[in-house]
């Protein structure tokens, strides 16, 4: 089969719409038909929801479908599956695994979560201690994971566990697909600073995973995990925002609407942050223009740093600006949100939740090290954990 071009994709999309009119077709049935027509992610292989087409042509399909009012899979709710599990399964999975997992993942019938971080392995993820011990055709897994979003909704998880404690820490890890409905998997909500339980703790006790659900060779799970983690960072800083489009927007609007709250000190700080927010927005614009021009720069790694600090400073200012109202909080009731939503909450929530922006997806301190070493070429600090068996490391 030759690589389809835009016209061919448009034709196939119209065929799909004719055979399954969105108005009279069940949502899930339509999404399954779309997957089977190779129009789910067109750059994936034929038979796995794609047509081996250039990734850039996905927009041709999406535009046609949106115009026809076709249902979409909700990429936010199933973000971990789409953004992290799928590319890893595509890259390292067996044919059988790809056939079994990709379709229900894309359709949204099966939600995924990620069992990577542990209480003792955050920034130093490769220090993880969850054990997987071979028992015949199975692996028996014991350990504890943390910061797992969607674990309470998920059917499947991508999991990394230690399979050889005698190897140095990066080499004794293997990568598995874990069935969240299996005995021994216990999900507990982890209530956070905002009062919500957006994440979970997951306890694994004698969980049996068949060897057929291992991804990649035994002992090479760290390499497989790099694929997952690279895909996690790809999207950061990518969104196009208008002036005052970020957290500075609500503060600026409050400033304009409520002159009685204004003080000279707050004015100086607001203007300083307004300038920084505008400059960060321009830096994002420049980054996108570089990508379009085929000159990807290292600036992307800096954008997350900038936005984390800005979000924290701006939301801190906002609480202070609100004065008496800043003393109040919307609701401490324990809730389990499916998504992080900054703008649907009050200033106090933004202030508290944004504290996580400099921790999640790589702490600011680790990102600064990455910038210093990979962008500026500064030497790494001496390490004493690289050639030592994991079992001999201090914990």
């Amino acid at each position: 089969m030759t690589t389809p071009d835009a016209a061919e994709l448009r034709r196939r999309t119209q065929e799909l719409l004719a055979a399954h009119p969105p108005a009279t077709t069940d949502r899930t049935d339509f999404l399954k038909a779309r997957f089977d027509a190779g129009l789910a992610w067109v750059h994936y292989p034929a038979g796995l929801g794609g047509l081996d087409a250039p990734r850039s042509l996905q927009s041709v399909v999406d535009t046609e479908l949106a115009a026809a009012g076709a249902p979409d899979n909700d990429p936010r709710r199933i973000g971990i599956g789409l953004g992290m599990a799928a590319p890893t399964i595509l890259g390292y999975g067996t044919d059988e695994q790809k056939q079994r997992f990709l379709r229900p993942l894309w359709v949204g019938e099966e939600v995924w979560c990620q069992l990577f971080s542990e209480p003792g392995a955050g920034s130093d993820l490769a220090a993880l201690g969850t054990r997987a011990v071979r028992a015949g055709e199975d692996w028996v897994v014991d350990g504890q994971k943390v910061w797992t979003s969607s674990a309470h909704l998920a059917r499947w998880a991508i999991l990394i566990a230690r399979t050889d404690p005698d190897q140095p820490k990066h080499r004794g890890i293997s990568y598995f697909i874990c069935d969240m409905t299996d005995p021994g998997v216990e999900v507990r909500p982890l209530r956070q600073i905002t009062g919500e339980a957006e994440f979970n703790e997951v306890f694994l006790t004698g969980v049996r995973i068949p060897d057929s659900r291992r991804l990649g060779p035994v002992g090479e799970g760290w390499k497989v995990a790099q694929t997952t983690l690279m895909n996690e960072r790809v999207s950061i800083g990518g969104a196009r925002i208008p002036r005052e489009g970020g957290m500075i927007g609500p503060v600026a609007r409050t400033w304009r609407a409520r002159p009685e709250l204004r003080t000279h000190d707050l004015h100086q700080r607001l203007l300083g942050l307004w300038v920084e927010a505008e400059v960060a927005r321009l830096a994002g614009t420049r980054l996108r223009q570089q990508l379009v021009a085929g000159q990807p720069g290292p600036e992307g790694s800096g954008m997350k740093l900038a936005f984390a600090r800005l979000n924290q400073e701006i939301s801190g200012l906002e609480v202070e600006l609100l004065g008496e109202d800043g003393l109040l909080y919307s609701d401490w009731t324990m809730r389990r949100p499916e998504l992080v939503d900054f703008t649907g909450h009050d200033a106090g929530y933004r202030y508290l939740r944004s504290k996580g922006n400099s921790i999640e997806g790589g702490t600011s301190e680790v990102l600064l090290n990455i910038v210093a070493e990979r962008v500026l070429g500064l030497p790494a600090e001496p390490r004493n954990d690289k050639d030592v068996p994991w079992k001999d490391l201090t914990r």
Partner: protein, 376 residues
């Protein structure tokens, strides 16, 4: 009340091939004629500028005429290209009257819109680098209102202007008066240019005294105010590119030094405390580049957004340049405090630049007005 909306046309924040070529030419010239020992020698000499360097930059490369249309002897390029020249001049802390003459004075004359007469004659001279002209107001002036206008009595000019940048190198002074804008030859009778001792040794300052000095009237009061405002806007906007180039040099040299300098049996650049400071600086430089490019592009395209783009660039880049130069001194340790090492030239230039054409605080006040975030 509504928030100001985003500009409809997205600014081009990248560099074109032609701009990269121009940068290479300027950088190569400065590497040959204007390295750190040459700058140090220059600032201790009587002549503020190296005439051969200026000739090569202004006429040889054609940098002085970038803003001037071809029919007036210029290059017919624009602010984006001039900004690239300024990045390189900042990177080299080059002593050259580029910002004052080839940008501010040139922009003022262009804004007068004359098609012939003394204005176009002077423009031709500036475009080819035959003459240097500077605006006779304090270097710190943000707006025409902050300028000190001279008085005019029977066609002769009277007045004293302090802190005029590059006046010691100027052939012509552009003097705003209550009666319009005048061109005054510095060699004329009644004109005294008294050099001051500047903080930034690479950009001379002087007090200009006019006592019954003869001048040529270029514009009336209203056009003069408009043109001077336009010149100061371009000066502030493109100064951001000089600040960017300066900050980049400071970061690059600091990284290089800390990779080589060993203490405690390690390169000092391998200590996390220092790495984080340099990574933070890198992030500021990346952001300053976006802000400076945005201002240059707005000036070049005549965007309605120009006053805001310029104010944002100045409010941001001034601080980045000073921060980069201060970190450069600190992370170089004792050597950063010596006269032989060029770091002090960068700190002095960065600090003086942070006052030039308005401080960051002045520009934040402009922003408050433009985006409707009023003071209490």
């Amino acid at each position: 009340m509504t928030a100001p909306t985003e500009e409809t046309q997205a600014p081009d924040l990248l560099y074109s091939q032609a701009e990269d070529d121009l940068r290479a030419a300027v950088r190569s010239l400065l590497a040959d004629r204007c390295d750190a020992p040459a700058v140090l020698a220059r600032i201790e000499s009587d002549a503020p500028y190296d005439q051969r360097l200026w000739k090569a930059l202004a006429a040889g490369i054609g940098a002085a005429g970038l803003l001037v249309p071809e029919e007036l002897g210029g290059q017919g390029a624009g602010h984006r290209e001039a900004a690239v020249v300024l990045e390189e001049l900042g990177r080299a802390v080059a002593p050259a009257p580029y910002l004052t003459s080839a940008v501010v004075a040139t922009e003022i004359l262009l804004a007068l819109g004359a098609l012939d007469g003394p204005v176009t004659e002077l423009l031709r001279d500036l475009a080819t680098g035959r003459k240097v002209a500077v605006l006779a107001v304090p270097f710190s002036a943000l707006s025409p209102g902050a300028a000190q206008p001279a008085g005019v009595v029977a066609d002769a000019l009277e007045g004293t202007m302090t802190g005029v940048a590059d006046a010691p190198a100027a052939d012509v002074l552009l003097v705003p008066t209550t009666d319009g804008l005048y061109a005054v030859e510095t060699g004329a009778e009644g004109v005294t240019v008294e050099p001051l001792v500047p903080l930034d040794l690479t950009r001379p300052l002087a007090t200009v005294t006019l006592a019954k000095a003869p001048g040529t009237r270029l514009a009336n009061g209203a056009s003069a105010v408009f043109a001077v405002r336009r010149g100061l806007l371009a000066g502030a906007g493109l100064l951001a590119s000089e600040q960017l180039g300066l900050a980049e040099w400071c970061l690059t040299e600091t990284v290089r030094h800390t990779r080589e300098r060993h203490q405690f049996n390690r390169p000092v650049g391998s200590f996390q405390a220092l790495k984080h400071r340099m990574a933070q600086l890198w992030l500021e430089v990346v952001s300053a580049r976006a802000a400076a490019r945005n201002a240059a592009d707005a000036l070049a395209t005549g965007s309605r957004d120009t006053p805001l783009a310029v104010a944002v660039a100045q409010a941001y880049c001034s601080k980045v340049a000073v921060h980069a130069a201060e970190e450069c001194i600190q992370l170089h340790g004792g050597i950063g405090m010596t006269w032989e090492h060029p770091a002090h030239l960068y700190l002095k230039r960065a600090k003086a630049d942070s006052i030039a054409y308005g401080t960051a605080g002045n520009h934040r006040e402009v922003i408050a007005e433009l985006v409707d975030l009023p003071a209490p």
